[in-house]
Symmetry: none
Subunit: 232 residues, 2 copies
DNA sequence: TCGCGATATTCAGAAAATCTTAAGATTTTA
DNA sequence: TAAAATCTTAAGATTTTCTGAATATCGCGA
């Protein structure tokens, strides 16, 4: 059973974005733009994890966190804008299991989410631990824990960006992912580019490291006019 | 069976924080923000240890400690704010098995808790104690009791911070721990910084003491763009 | 086959992350 | 209270990674 995750952020764009990332990883998402609705949700749903913006207009993240601690108990990840003054947020992040500063990269978020879920289920062994941090198929293994990638038992040393791209491609295995989509999934909405051959360059490096030829790519195939895909 | 621990502090943030740390270590936590509820809990639950704030608004920690001594008998750790005047708290900490001044570091708290539990179960050998205070693997031994570290039978004299970092890395062996996460785990939520290379400097010292080269580190490996890890 | 737009390749400079060092601040110990 | 040990900070060096431009190649349709 997929985990239920609560996301609360008054910046709708951020909340929506996080929702996309989480759904991409097959989580059930409960999304709210204010603290009040979130508190309501906490009472009525069986949640597994919460991602809270520290600064909310009505009920701040800290208070929500406390409520979670009181009755229920599941991991809490706090979101803080980097510019936010330290004295304003210090204390507010107390009690959180982890915190992430905005802007963040999607995969970073996902990695933290998985780490928390795993840590939690580790101490609640009744819940089955679904190896969410591993992608493995036909000789290719991606481990988000160690950031390691193995191809036919041989370790590939990938850069963070390369790893992210490969992860996104693999988790969308069997489906074509466009350059733009790839860019969004890997870099987030942090950056803007329209002439986007950066992705291409990284794909090139990936293929090189995987000894994948461009002509007959075994792994990363290019679909003309659409994007890239990895066969199922 | 995990130990039952009572935590009482009127500063909710502190109590919540302690709860997080304890639950991390798989303890059952009974948390209260006032003395009254705590006294109630003492009567109704089979507790193994109590962590009490000295200064509570209703029933002070000293009184709670006395009550524990009267009927039940399990270790008591007192929490005292550093600024609190000595003459106010002296006497109040009497009867406690240990006391910790706020702010404290997560690992320090855990270490003290484990020490008390172990000391207690030593004299009550009926209770099995599987609390882990030792980490040992491939020539490296860490003992949280003595804060001692041995590498291939040779003792390394680590500073408290160094020890904590190594402990966190070792207890997350096989997984990358980011700089932020390390900071979070070692220094606690209290100290919030997002740009500091303190962790890095300590890592450097650690590697030096372990005779671990930066180029081919046998122990603490850096995963670019992600963090540090120790191989499983 | 040719032309054109999409995709590849290459590489050098920019940017980012990490490492190193050392000085000054703080804490602990004697 | 002084000395020693430890921690933090900052600046600059180094390494790794990313990006954008220039150029080459490919695939599709006319």
């Amino acid at each position: 059973m997929a985990a239920n995750i609560l996301i609360v952020d008054d910046e709708q764009a951020i909340a929506d974005l996080v929702e996309v990332y989480l759904k991409n990883e097959n989580y059930n998402v409960f999304k709210f733009y204010n603290g009040k609705d979130a508190l309501n949700c906490i009472e009525n749903e069986k949640l597994d994890l919460a991602i809270l913006d520290v600064m909310l207009p009505d009920v701040d993240g800290f208070s929500i966190c406390q409520r979670i601690r009181e009755k229920h108990n599941f991991p809490v990840i706090m979101l803080t804008a980097k510019e936010e003054e330290i004295d304003k947020i210090t204390g507010l992040t107390l009690g959180a299991d982890d915190y992430i500063t905005k802007p963040f990269r999607p995969l970073e978020l996902i990695a933290r989410v998985k780490a928390q879920l795993r840590r939690f289920t580790k101490y609640n062994p009744s819940e089955p631990n679904q190896e969410e941090h591993l992608i493995a198929f036909s000789g290719l293994v991606l481990d988000m824990d160690t950031h390691e990638c193995t191809l036919n038992e041989k370790k590939l040393s990938l850069t963070p960006t390369e790893f992210s791209i490969l992860w996104v491609l693999c988790s969308n295995r069997g489906r074509v992912v466009s350059s733009e989509e790839l860019f969004h999934e890997v870099w987030g909405d942090k950056y803007f580019t329209n002439s986007n051959n950066t992705v291409m360059v990284h794909i090139r490096h990936l293929r090189e490291k995987m000894h994948d030829s461009t002509e007959h790519p075994k792994y990363i195939k290019t679909v003309w006019g659409v994007g890239y895909k990895i066969e199922k």
